[in-house]
């Protein structure tokens, strides 16, 4: 049982990473943007094939964590706490990647690494919220209570995620907006690379979530076994 599942996991991991490499390569080969001034900005624009998929994945991941937290509070099944935890871990990783890639693009495009634009502000708040999530988990020792507190905090943190998403649609901002009503801001030639990126990073996310869940489950089983052995020794 264990062996077959890990064989599938190895295969999907290879496929996901290959997809990411192909998608990023397509990003480099996609036609250059015509509406930006310099060659440097044309290259900077290619960040979109990384930045948008990564940002999409972090929002997906926090959503997974939010739903898992609610299900945990209702069912009290440990697995949902692990899903929520893995969701926050991966979400925070991808959120950091989105911030860093955005910052690298902002340097040539906005002439600054960081500015307190609504999108960047809401993003910074989201990031801090999920860092605090880990501090909370670290401060509670008893596993059952840790899971309950973390689930409640994750629900509160999630308020910030849709606000980050809609911040560029509701407030005045300098952050580019890709989809406005029926308008899609990419030329036809750029779209294959863009959607390939979205699919590839989503695949990568699913595989990483699978890995994390497996490790977390093993860790909690080791923890349970250790507790049993200690009990017997006493």
């Amino acid at each position: 049982m264990q062996r077959t599942s890990s064989k599938w996991l190895v295969m999907s991991t290879i496929i996901a990473y290959a997809a990411v490499i192909i998608a990023l390569f397509m990003g480099f080969k996609a036609p250059a943007a015509v509406n930006v001034g310099t060659v440097q900005l044309q290259w900077a624009q290619r960040i979109i094939y990384f930045h948008v998929p990564v940002a999409w994945v972090f929002m997906l991941s926090f959503t997974v964590s939010f739903v898992a937290s609610i299900v945990f509070l209702i069912t009290k099944k440990r697995i949902w706490d692990l899903v929520a935890l893995a969701g926050v871990e991966l979400g925070l990783t991808f959120a950091t990647a989105a911030v860093i890639s955005g910052s690298i693009w902002a340097r040539p495009a906005w002439n600054t690494w960081w500015t307190w634009d609504p999108r960047l502000t809401t993003m910074a708040i989201t990031w801090l919220l999920y860092v605090a999530y880990f501090m909370l988990r670290g401060a509670v020792e008893e596993p059952e209570r840790q899971a309950r507190f973390a689930a409640v905090y994750s629900i509160f943190s999630y308020i910030s995620v849709p606000i980050t998403f809609f911040s560029i649609r509701l407030a005045r901002t300098i952050h580019p907006l890709l989809v406005k009503g029926n308008d899609f801001g990419l030329a036809k030639g750029m779209r294959p690379a863009f959607f390939a990126g979205l699919i590839a990073f989503t695949l990568l996310y699913i595989v990483l979530l699978w890995h994390r869940l497996r490790v977390l489950q093993l860790a909690s089983r080791v923890e349970a076994l250790r507790a049993r052995i200690l009990e017997q020794e006493l």
């Binding site: 708040i125 501090m135 909370l136 509670v140 209570r145 309950r148 507190f149 689930a151 905090y153 910030s160």
Partner: protein, 224 residues
């Protein structure tokens, strides 16, 4: 329903009575807020061209930092005297405990804010004593107390509780604080009501969301 209101009121009244006997939380919050304002005064004095621009920030940072002190004590007292289990054993809906505590915290923080405002007026020479600012104080401290009470019930059961509360609470209430600061600044600059409508909406929507989620999740925090 009437039993629920009676239980909420009993908890609220109990918090006020214990506070009246010790005057521990309120005096600490008030002195701290006063100190914060005086420190800000020295930090900005002579360095900032137009002092009017920093006053809203100074006011709300003082209120939130002072409020944090009070919230930290809110459940610690119950924990130290081991009375929390007694409260939880009472045959009433547990959200009555939340609403009672929340109402008491709200009242404490709001009264500190109301006393701090005329003092800020004096120290910064900016007139803040006005009726519409009271509405901002009400809405701002309400959202702060709504989440703060819930998180205080969380952190009382953790290691290093008084360090953890600000780390959990600040990023969550940040939108409320931002809206409150913007509204205070808008009132000082005599902006039209329509110009501030968006900030009002944000503040009130957050107040409602915070209260509803806190109400829905409180029983999961205190169940043992």
């Amino acid at each position: 329903m009437s039993q629920f209101i009676r239980a909420t009121y009993a908890i609220f009244w109990k918090a006020l009575r214990t506070e009246w006997r010790s005057r521990e939380i309120f005096s600490a919050m008030f002195v701290f807020a006063l100190l914060a304002i005086i420190i800000f005064n020295f930090a900005f004095d002579l360095r900032v061209q137009n002092i009017r621009q920093v006053v809203p920030g100074v006011l709300w940072v003082s209120i939130t930092f002072a409020g944090m002190l009070g919230l930290n004590r809110s459940f610690t007292v119950e924990k130290e005297n081991d009375t929390l289990s007694g409260l939880l054993l009472a045959p009433v809906d547990r959200s009555a405990l939340y609403f009672g505590k929340m109402a008491a915290n709200f009242l404490f923080i709001l009264s500190v804010a109301v006393i701090i405002v005329p003092l800020t007026t004096v120290f910064f020479n900016v007139n803040l004593v006005r009726a519409d600012l009271l509405l901002v104080l009400l809405a701002g401290t309400f959202g702060f107390a709504a989440v703060g009470t819930l998180f205080s019930a969380i952190t009382v059961n953790t290691r290093a509780q008084d360090i953890l509360l600000p780390i959990l609470l600040f990023p969550v209430v940040l939108p409320v604080i931002i809206a409150a600061v913007k509204l205070t600044a808008g009132l000082l600059e005599q902006l039209a009501v329509a110009d501030l409508a968006n900030w009002w909406r944000l503040l009130i929507v957050y107040d409602i969301i915070f209260l509803v989620i806190a109400f829905l999740t409180f029983e999961y925090i205190v169940e043992e």
